[in-house]
């Protein structure tokens, strides 16, 4: 069954869709999908709708929603940088609407995935797992490379945008490196931009998010997507992430031949199945341990009273 839902974020109304499995089982786990780029809760080529329906057919309740300023939700566009309050409001709404709810798994793509990584450590009692696909990073190198290929995916509006892109195109041409070489060697440099005047780059924040979120994390990477490959290279080269990968907390699924939004139907199918497997693995059914349950009750109580 699909139902509409709306909730508030500081007097702004946000809109979403609930996918509820057709069974009488009490709901313990919810999948919350966060949108990337300039998309709405529908996703490119309806990818979000199709994934949500697929998960729901397999017994998982799902919520897709438009964060502040996107889609039908009120407010001006704020971007993934400021999606946190919307995500929190969505999780709050799920806990208030479903009394049996014990945990939320976030599924997100592109900069929605980046937003999820930045958000999750602050709500790790309720968020039990992240499934992130081709997360977005904002290094100068990445930006130029990504924009060249994906002008319409992430377009930056600053005045000198094209100057940077075109200058970069010169340097690619001069070094005569092919795209595949670029993919293999791309790395996020240390001398990156200060992100939102925080004194750190976005990549540093993302690494901190990945490493401080102690729960399970599944990463879906399309091998034909520069953004995805950059993220892959970032976490592969970070010592703390390497440890988590070795220990099995972070799992990486490479989707061979996939593009940024899994446009090809066979690839999309593969991404949907991997996502289901990842969610089922990180959110086991009803056999929950007592201490985790206690933590969630505490979280819920503080929400209601707070």
């Amino acid at each position: 069954m699909e139902r509409t839902i709306d909730f508030s974020l500081a007097h702004k109304k946000l809109f979403g869709i609930l996918h509820l499995p057709e069974n009488d089982q009490p709901i313990h786990t919810f999948v919350l999908m966060i949108v990337g780029g300039a998309q709405t809760r529908i996703g490119s080529h309806r990818m979000y709708v199709q994934l949500a329906r697929f998960l729901c057919r397999n017994g998982l309740p799902v919520m897709r929603f438009d964060y502040e300023g996107l889609g039908d939700s009120e407010g001006d566009f704020v971007g993934f940088e400021y999606a946190g309050p919307s995500i929190r409001a969505a999780v709050d709404t799920l806990y208030l609407s479903f009394s049996s709810l014990q945990r939320v798994v976030i599924w997100a793509l592109c900069d929605g995935a980046t937003a999820a990584i930045l958000y999750a450590p602050s709500d790790s009692e309720r968020i039990c797992s992240l499934v992130v696909a081709n997360p977005f990073l904002e290094s100068e190198t990445a930006k130029a490379q990504t924009i060249l290929k994906n002008y319409y995916i992430r377009r930056l509006m600053q005045a000198d945008f094209w100057r940077k892109v075109l200058t970069f195109q010169f340097s690619i041409k001069e070094s005569a490196s092919s795209l595949s070489t670029t993919l293999r060697t791309s790395a996020v440099n240390a001398e990156e931009e200060d992100w939102l005047h925080t004194g750190k780059s976005l990549s540093q924040w993302v690494l901190e998010g990945v490493n401080s979120f102690a729960k399970s994390m599944h990463v879906l990477i399309s091998t034909d997507d520069i953004q995805g490959m950059l993220f892959y290279n970032l976490i592969r080269k970070d010592p703390a992430c390497r440890k988590s990968i070795k220990a099995g907390r972070i799992k990486i699924w490479l989707i061979k031949g996939g593009d940024h939004t899994f446009t090809d139907p066979q690839i999309k199918d593969k991404a949907c199945k991997k996502s289901l497997a990842a969610i089922v693995e990180s959110a086991p059914g009803n056999g929950e341990q007592g201490d985790l349950c206690q933590m969630r009750i505490a979280a819920k109580t503080s929400l209601i009273t707070g």
Binding site: E2, R3, T4, D6, K12, K13, F15, I17, G37, A38, Q39, T40, R41, I42, S44, H45, R46, M47, V49, L70, G71, D72, E74, D76, F77, Y152, I153, R155, M157, T261, T263, D264, P265, K268
Partner: protein
């Protein structure tokens, strides 16, 4: 945003449950509402933000505005490839019925972008409650539109350095039972055939509705063919055909507003419906 109420709900369409989004002004005595017909495939996603912005602006003028998703599109039920243009016209009729059930609207202005404009025209042909048409960058010719759309597969293949299949081969495939995937949208034989059938199915009515035709681009003038194709609509004295110099919003992402397009459309609405 207390001056208008916004509600989202599912309602029964011609084939499946459809998503509806209703903008209701707090104080209004107008009995003419505006119903939006969305464009095709990814153009729907690209133009969504501007559509919402415009809907809210029209609601501030006192119009009830109803947006909905066709069968197999957006949040509505079904898969994209399972429906035809005829189904989408039925959906538009169902949306108008739903709007009238929920509000005291008596007449509608059909507002469409690109292919949605052509569907609005086709729908208006068989109704007696259409007070006007807002047609943004209309794609009047169904066959041309779907051929251009399928041609994008060719462009996307060679741009991504893949082996490209000729347009003729793609058209042959889609005409003979095989779906063609364009940017993740499967064009089925059913959907394709419905495009071919449309151009002859809806001849121009004798008296055109009052229409607002807007062509939108950064070029200094409108595409000549589009202006010619709009001429018959100009027989209605309340019709207006304008070129608006503004960046398009249906063929690219990151477009949040179309200030001039929205303002000029609002001015036309005031002209034909009063302030």
């Amino acid at each position: 945003m207390a001056e208008q109420l916004e509600e989202m709900f599912f309602f029964k369409g011609g084939c499946v449950d459809l998503l509806g989004f209703l903008h209701s002004p707090a104080h209004s005595t107008r009995t003419t509402a505006i119903v939006h017909c969305h464009p095709f495939a990814e153009e729907k996603n690209c133009s969504h933000a501007v559509t919402v912005k415009a809907a809210r602006a029209f609601a501030r003028q006192g119009f009830v505005v109803f947006r909905f998703d066709y069968s197999g599109c957006g949040d509505s039920g079904g898969e994209f490839s399972d429906f035809s243009l005829q189904d989408w016209i039925e959906d538009t009729n169902a949306a108008i019925a739903e709007l009238k059930r929920r509000t005291r609207s008596q007449n509608v202005i059909l507002w469409g972008t690109r292919l949605g404009a052509a569907l609005a025209l086709a729908c208006a042909r068989d109704r007696d409650d259409v007070a006007g048409l807002i047609l943004w960058q209309p794609s009047f010719h169904f066959k041309d539109y779907i051929h251009q759309f399928i041609r994008q597969k060719l462009v996307s293949d060679f741009s991504n350095k893949r082996q490209a299949v000729s347009l003729q081969a793609l058209l042959h495939k889609v005409a003979s039972g095989g779906a063609v995937q364009v940017y993740g949208y499967p064009i089925s034989t059913l959907l394709y055939a419905s495009f071919l059938a449309m151009d002859d199915a809806y001849p121009h009515p004798e008296t055109p509705h009052p229409s607002y035709i807007a062509t939108i681009s950064n070029m200094p003038s409108a595409p000549l063919q589009l202006v010619r194709d709009s001429e018959w609509l100009m027989q209605n004295p309340a019709s207006s055909c304008v070129h608006i110099v503004e960046e398009p919003f249906w063929d690219r992402y990151w477009r949040w507003d179309a200030v001039r397009t929205i303002e000029k459309t609002q001015a036309w609405l005031t002209k034909i419906q009063g302030g």
